[in-house]
């Protein structure tokens, strides 16, 4: 008895230590990956297209453009120059003002001028919230570009807020063509470790209570996993073997299919959307493989319970194993199709960033969401076979509501709040951020993805558990 408890104590401690080690490694890794992105979000504003050139400034003229940036801090202002002073020693003075206060004053020379644009760094970055800003420019023989229409095709840039352009106090029509770069500041990282530690403490307390009880949730869970691990493996293996059995190329189709799809889309849409998106083929491919996973796993889950009716009505097997199997066997397919995606990235010169390490988290969100949807669908399908027809229509509508082959910027601003409710939009944006842009998504993207995937999974499990006892009566 004594040795037994001592041994149990040792085992408990070992599990807790393992939990601690894994938890802090994961938390540290995540912090490292999100460090920059969770501190600030880069914002670029601009988008007025060149319409006219201002008259060349005389010595003593002050050209002032007021503007209202939607960002926390302004870092840099770029002006489009139509004519740069001929005099090599000429200097241009740029002043950033709020009302009458001078926030930053810079003297710029030919060194700051390149390719028709004048870059003026605002150092230190200036807080932009709380009132209109104005940029005042003086410099002899300088002419700048102005305009009054928003440029088409510059999808990545937010529209500039209205502002007025004045010359020596006199209002001119139109506004200067300029790009304002800056960032929004997040305060999430300040709470990172407190929250992480609180979660750790909660997890530790939960674990140690669970480990002390003989028939705890944890024990039941591990027994269930142990008991049905092999069955799960067999069922997933069966799906896989049956899928590729009669095809000559076999598993190679997992590579080829998304590749060919991506090329088809590429040829169809490249003339329309290519210019708006860098690395269009990678953009397409990442969208296709992720959405394909979603549509494949949900469509297969849908029929999984009804399809296994002969088994379900004869043997006791936990019934959730059928939809879960489908979500997992499709996930293997998804994992395989990442290989051609990486190959394509290599081929088209998309750099590999450390942000790619966030892919497991992405898969966790996606698989969680798809499993939740699959559980709900498979349960509904038992009672109403209409769901099958309905879902095939819904999934193709969903396909078009998700930015797979078009840029998000073609969606009008007024619809964006609704458009963003699409969980697949959130997941695809997350994926493109880590694959194409090489940066971790903003903190709210994590929150949305987490809520969507875990929320759907929880609802799916609840619906499934509530209805599964009735399955046998309808099969």
């Amino acid at each position: 008895m004594d040795t037994n408890t001592k041994e149990q104590k040792k085992k408990r401690l070992r599990i807790l230590a393992l939990f601690t080690a894994i938890y802090f490694c994961a938390a540290g890794l995540l912090l490292w990956l999100v460090w920059d992105a969770w501190q600030r979000q880069a914002v670029t504003e601009g988008g007025v297209s060149r319409g006219f050139a201002t008259e060349a400034l005389q010595a003593g003229d002050v050209l002032t453009q007021s503007f209202q940036p939607v960002m926390d801090f302004v870092q840099e202002i770029t002006l489009d120059v139509s004519h740069w002073p001929q005099d090599a020693s000429a200097a241009v003075e740029v002043t950033l003002l709020r009302g009458c206060d001078t926030l930053c004053q810079r003297r710029l020379t030919a060194a700051d001028y390149a390719d028709g644009s004048l870059r003026c760094a605002i150092d230190p970055p200036t807080a932009a919230r709380g009132g209109e800003l104005a940029v005042a420019i003086t410099g002899a023989d300088l002419s700048l570009w102005g305009g009054d229409t928003i440029a088409a095709g510059r999808f990545d840039v937010a529209d500039q807020q209205a502002g007025t352009l004045t010359l020596n106090g006199q209002t001119l029509s139109g506004r200067l063509v300029m790009t304002v770069r800056g960032y929004n500041q997040y305060h999430v990282l300040r709470y990172y470790w407190p929250v992480a530690l609180a979660l750790y403490a909660a997890g530790l307390i939960f674990l140690s209570i669970q480990l002390r009880r003989p028939r705890s949730l944890l024990v039941i869970l591990s027994q269930t996993i142990k008991r049905y691990k092999y069955l799960l493996k067999q069922l997933v293996g069966r799906d896989f073997r049956v899928k590729y059995q009669a095809s000559v190329l076999g598993v190679l189709w997992s590579f080829l299919n998304p590749m060919l799809m991506a090329f088809v889309y590429y040829f169809v849409f490249s003339t329309i959307f290519k210019s708006a998106i860098d690395h269009f083929i990678v953009y397409l491919m990442s969208g296709i493989i992720l959405f394909n996973y979603f549509s494949e796993s949900t469509s297969l889950s849908l029929i999984s319970v009804v399809g296994n009716a002969p088994l379900i009505t004869k043997v006791y097997i936990p019934k959730y194993i059928f939809p879960v199997t489908k979500a997992l066997s499709s996930a293997i397919n998804l994992a395989i199709s990442f290989i051609p995606l990486f190959a394509l990235m290599l081929f088209t010169g998309v750099p590999f960033h450390k942000s790619l390490l966030l892919i497991p988290l992405l898969l966790f969100f996606l698989v969680g969401f798809a499993t939740g949807v699959g559980l709900i669908l498979s349960a509904m399908y038992v009672f109403f076979r209409d769901v099958g027809f309905l879902w095939s229509v819904l999934i193709s509508i969903w396909n078009f509501l998700t930015p797979i082959f078009y840029p998000v910027s073609i969606i009008p601003d007024k619809y964006m709040p609704f458009y963003q409710l699409n969980p697949m939009y959130q997941i695809l944006s997350f994926a493109r951020s880590i694959i194409l842009n090489g940066v971790s998504p903003a903190p709210q993207a994590y929150l949305f993805c987490l809520l969507w995937s875990m929320g759907t999974l929880a609802i799916g499990l609840a619906v499934y558990y509530k209805s599964q006892d009735k399955f046998c009566l309808y099969l």
Partner: protein
């Protein structure tokens, strides 16, 4: 010794949908018209009994008397409306022709798939594999896809898996007519051997001779009610009497 199966006051009520709605439109229409009617049907009413380890319990009764339902409640496929059934051991239901099989896969793969469905792990199945194949007499065909098998071959494989994995409880629902005459004899011998080896067996059969021959106790069900439970011979006599009186 503690009973291996305990069935306590089990009632199974089927909630039959009288308006027969199988699609969403009909359901919504019926729901809106408040015509969603349900008929309650009691397949089992207040059944209680226990089975000791090593017993062979035969369940008899007319068609629709609830025999198969009772087996399904015990094996956990159905959840009883009220009452409880507890089982202290591993159940192997002898699956009807091919219900646990995938016809695209080979016989070998199906042995492992079916074994996994019955709840066994890889190591155990590997150790039993040769024995199963030898017993089913399918050595030549075991690597062929199951779709090329004759129905007799499939049944032989199913029987071999269910009986050779040595379950603590075997559930047999009317399938002692496996394969040709020789294999039938062989399978009956195997059943006897298992019963003598201490396996608990629950058996449903319409052949009273089979029940009298194999079972140690018998349970007579009629329209979900327990009519009699006791030694095989008297219960079978009672049942035969009743059936004769009914004509």
């Amino acid at each position: 010794m503690a009973p291996i199966i305990t069935v306590e006051n089990v009632t199974m009520k089927f909630h039959l949908n009288a308006s027969k709605t199988t699609n969403l439109k009909e359901w919504v229409v019926a729901f809106l018209k408040k015509r969603l009617r349900y008929n309650d049907f009691y397949a089992l009413q207040d059944i209680s009994f226990t089975v000791e380890p090593g017993e062979v319990l035969g369940i008899i009764g007319q068609n629709g008397s609830g025999k198969s339902t009772l087996l399904k409640v015990i094996s956990g496929v159905y959840k009883a409306t009220s009452g409880s059934s507890r089982v202290n051991g591993r159940i192997a239901p002898m699956l009807e022709l091919g219900s646990g099989f995938d016809y695209e896969l080979s016989g070998r793969e199906n042995v492992f798939l079916n074994g996994a469905i019955l709840g066994y792990d890889e190591k155990f199945l590997k150790s039993k594999y040769d024995e199963i194949v030898a017993y089913s007499e399918l050595e030549e065909f075991i690597l062929q896809p199951l779709k090329t098998y004759s129905s007799g071959m499939v049944t032989r494989l199913a029987f071999s898996i269910a009986t050779l994995v040595e379950p603590e409880i075997l559930i047999v629902d009317e399938i002692l007519s496996v394969g040709d005459e020789r294999f039938q004899r062989k399978s009956r011998d195997r059943m006897r051997q298992m019963m003598e080896g201490g396996t608990t067996v629950l058996m449903v059969s319409h052949s009273l001779d089979q029940i009298r021959d194999l079972c140690t106790r018998a349970l007579w069900l009629d329209h979900g009610h327990m009519m009699a439970l006791g030694d095989t011979q008297p219960v079978c006599d009672q049942y035969q009497e009743y059936m004769r009186a009914k004509g």
